[in-house]
Symmetry: C2
Subunit: 273 residues, 2 copies
């Protein structure tokens, strides 16, 4: 096991499906790092068991919450308060350096070179680019930093959006101005909104994209995939073609690499009954 | 006259109305710099005359064009080929340093501190934030740079979007990695797409915004303003409330500071007939 790790988080079965695809997409591109998932106690047994076979380590953490409904309403995302739970990742001190990945990302190409970066590195957010997007970041586990973050999070208006992104941007507030090497290239965290706003750039840099991030309300696991015709159905209205291709890519990994494990574990648990 | 200047561009009467608002919004916040507008020969006499009373200098330039229809179709903006004309701004060698502003921006607060920056400084684009947005940038006029840019622009695929933004990003290609001081804060060039993608950040930084940029297909001068009830009409569907407020702000300057000049010039030209 490497002393460096990719870390993700899942507090629901839906996000856990995402985490399973994160793990498989990392294995597919041949990562040399350990894979860690933080979970809360809400997951079904089957999902939990499958996480255990896919990740090197499963860590149960306590849920933290911002309870900031005003700002979460602005985002139309009441579920994001629980993303404060993310800061538990600083407790993983047995790793010297980590890359946190949201459970709604898909790795397309090798990203192990992220470990050459230092805390705190993240890519600009394609909404307000003076903020970083908190779906992908490089950090150093440290109980001390965790303690400071919890203290910070307990203050009023700790997060300007009610989620972890507003919190971490307030905490690592010198990201914008201090050191350009802490700015990850956007190709390490290409968020879905990009596909509407600047298509020529997406086409230009398409083959450089290392990771896509299904940020926003529509998550891949909310769609339905038909393996017979290779088509997706569900709330796909208004989604850009490039976005649809990435969603399909996500589902191919789900179908080819995650489902077999889920059904194997399911059969075993049936037999054990 | 200052040896430093704000420079804008208008090749049509519509964009020229924008340029007039740019000038008045800069005067309103008390700029100490010269105001320069580059125009082509398509403008009506009344507009041209009014530009002459609002700007310190009006420079007639030759239109350049990318004729890159494939990429401009991706943007749904066939009119953007002519934005190559922008690079004429490097010819203004009588100024030691300049800030280029698109004609579709509105200055809300003093931005003279931009002249402390060096060529080439620009703010990240909120669509693909590893590119800069070319609506606001700091540069040093130089015939030599102009010559290089024209040569560069004449190559195939000089611009990945068919407009000046793709061209300038290809030319100043080390902007992303070389020097963080060349990254202008986003508050100096807040583009319209932001208002849909990350509202909590907009609210958080609202009072810091120095300049809004009506980038995209809807331009303020395409709307209608009713001074009786202070309301806007036109194709406003789907526009965010904050965006509407800025559009209204643009129209107040148009109504209070530009129209009086236009009608005065109009009366005088009627009398001279
Ligand atoms: O109910 C939730 C919501 C979020 N998350 C975790 O927090 C991350 C951030 O939330 P999300 O990706 O939905 O935010 P977005 O990227 O859409 O802003 C997710 O990827 C998950 O890792 C979770 O485990 N349970
Ligand atoms: O027909 C045109 C199109 C553009 N422009 C100039 O080029 C700039 C860039 O175009 P625009 O602002 O429409 O591009 P956007 O910011 O929407 O990408 C404008 O602000 C004007 O200064 C012009 O003079 N005539
Ligand atoms: Mn996410
Ligand atoms: Mn513009």
């Amino acid at each position: 096991m490497s002393s460096e790790a990719f870390v993700t988080l899942a507090t629901t079965d839906g996000y856990a499906l995402g985490a399973l695809v994160v793990a498989q997409s990392l294995r597919k591109v041949g990562t040399q790092r350990s894979l860690v998932v933080m979970i809360s106690n809400n997951l079904s047994d089957l999902i939990k068991q499958t996480l255990e076979t896919s990740f090197d380590e499963v860590v149960v953490v306590e849920e933290l919450n911002s309870y900031d409904n005003e700002n979460l309403t602005l985002l139309s995302r009441p579920e994001l308060g629980v993303t404060f739970t993310k800061i538990n990742c600083w407790l993983l001190e047995k790793y010297s350096k980590c890359v946190f990945l949201d459970a709604d990302v898909l790795v397309l190409r090798d990203i192990d070179d992220l470990f050459e970066r230092e805390e705190f590195s993240a890519a600009p957010d394609a909404g307000w680019p003076d903020c970083f997007n908190s779906g992908v970041f490089v950090y150093r586990p440290s109980k001390e930093t965790f303690r400071k973050l919890v203290q910070f999070a307990s203050q009023q208006d700790a997060s300007f959006d009610g989620g972890d992104q507003g919190l971490l941007n307030n905490f690592f507030s010198d990201w914008r101005t201090s050191d350009i090497s802490r700015h990850l290239p956007f190709i390490y965290n290409v968020t879905s909104n990009t596909f509407y706003s600047y298509v020529p750039a997406v086409k230009r840099f398409r083959n450089d994209i290392r990771l896509v991030h299904f940020a926003g309300a529509l998550k891949p696991w909310q769609l339905t995939y038909n393996p017979q015709n290779g088509k997706l159905s569900g709330n796909l209205e208004g989604q850009h073609d490039i976005q649809k291709e990435f969603l399909l890519h996500w589902w191919k990994i789900m179908y080819e690499r995650v489902w077999p494990q889920l059904s194997k574990n399911n059969q075993q648990s049936q037999q054990n009954k």
